[in-house]
């Protein structure tokens, strides 16, 4: 199949113990681009072996968290591979690679950040939906702009946006930090609709992660 993504756009997939889903994700994404970077975040299962189907694999010897894995992937893409932009995807097959082209389209329209936004009324569990909406409302109250579906990990950013975001969160808090810094630095962003897909409700963000996210919101308000 034709590679529809531009060769200077890299897809970064952080993976932690995702040996079950990663092969499926890689084979689907390969239909759109070969420029795939998998960051194995210290997995203890066969993630590293199955990740070798990707063009680039970087391995954290210890599990650091999603934020750190994304940062490693971005540094490889921007500093060593001269990427123009990156698209961040989760490794648990919750993101539809068919939507990669929507991200590229938005990047070509000179947006610095493109946020994949799910339809919250479809399929999303109630508790996750409440945490999701609350986070967006709090960001609006505290920072003055509404960023929808903050926990969504499907997003694209340019090198300039990456340099401005310069996140420090090493865990799932990275999504919130990106949202807040997008507002603070007034990055030119847009949203693209993405599918809501859940395979394993025990993975991804939990209610406890949402509580931690709220604590982080207060910290960001005090520090930024």
């Amino acid at each position: 199949m034709a590679q529809t993504l531009s060769s200077d756009i890299y897809v970064i997939i952080p993976a932690y113990n995702e040996a079950n889903y990663l092969p499926t994700v890689l084979s689907k994404v390969a239909n759109y681009t070969r420029q795939i970077i998998v960051v194995d975040d210290g997995s203890s299962d066969a993630t590293n072996q199955v990740a070798s189907a990707a063009k680039y694999v970087v391995t954290h010897r210890l599990n650091l968290g999603k934020g750190a894995a994304l940062k490693t992937g971005c540094e490889l893409a921007f500093n060593q591979l001269n990427a123009r932009a990156v698209i961040l995807m989760d490794a648990d097959d919750q993101h539809n690679p068919q939507e990669l082209e929507s991200f590229q389209l938005a990047l070509n329209q000179n947006y610095e950040l493109v946020l994949g936004v799910r339809d919250l009324d479809v399929k999303m569990p109630w508790s996750k939906r409440q945490g999701n909406v609350m986070a967006s409302q709090l960001v609006k109250v505290l920072f003055g702009a509404y960023i929808p579906d903050i926990p969504s990990g499907y997003k694209a950013l340019t090198k300039k946006a990456y340099q401005q975001l310069d996140w420090t969160a090493t865990d799932y808090g990275v999504e919130l930090e990106i949202a807040v810094k997008t507002v603070k630095h007034q990055l030119r962003f847009c949203t693209v609709p993405i599918q809501t897909i859940y395979h394993d409700l025990s993975k991804g963000m939990t209610v406890l992660d949402t509580i931690a996210m709220l604590q982080q919101l207060v910290r960001l308000k005090l520090s930024l």
């Binding site: 954290h60 010897r61 650091l64 490693t72």
Partner: protein, 115 residues
């Protein structure tokens, strides 16, 4: 002597025992062992003879020596928690930098085609 004083002394003696074990295992340096043993000895002395602090307690307008000890203990605990929080955060940052740098140095690049 009250039961509380006896319990405090026993607690301090067990802590001194723990310190000496760490000293033997070399997880604490001789200086650190000396520091902690002196601290726990002081704790025992104050626990058994609280009136030694009566003067300080009255100067700081505490009604009882016990109140002074509780406030002092809370202050020390706060300082220790604060210091260990920053130390662990710094360690975490260093580990993160190291792990990420190693990952980038050892990245797997695509194989070049022979054709």
């Amino acid at each position: 002597m009250t039961i509380f004083q006896i319990l405090a002394a026993i607690f301090a003696l067990s802590m001194m025992y723990v310190v000496s074990i760490h000293g033997k295992k070399k997880t604490l340096s001789p200086t650190e062992v000396g520091f902690w043993l002196s601290l726990w000895t002081l704790f025992i002395v104050i626990a058994l003879f609280p009136n030694l602090l009566m003067g300080i307690s009255q100067a700081l307008l505490f009604n009882r020596v016990f109140d002074l000890l509780v406030v002092a203990a809370l202050m020390i605990l706060t300082i220790l928690v604060f210091a260990s929080y920053f130390r662990s955060r710094e360690s975490h940052k260093r580990v993160e930098r190291l792990v990420r740098q190693l990952a980038l140095d050892e990245k797997k690049m695509p194989r070049k085609s022979l054709s």
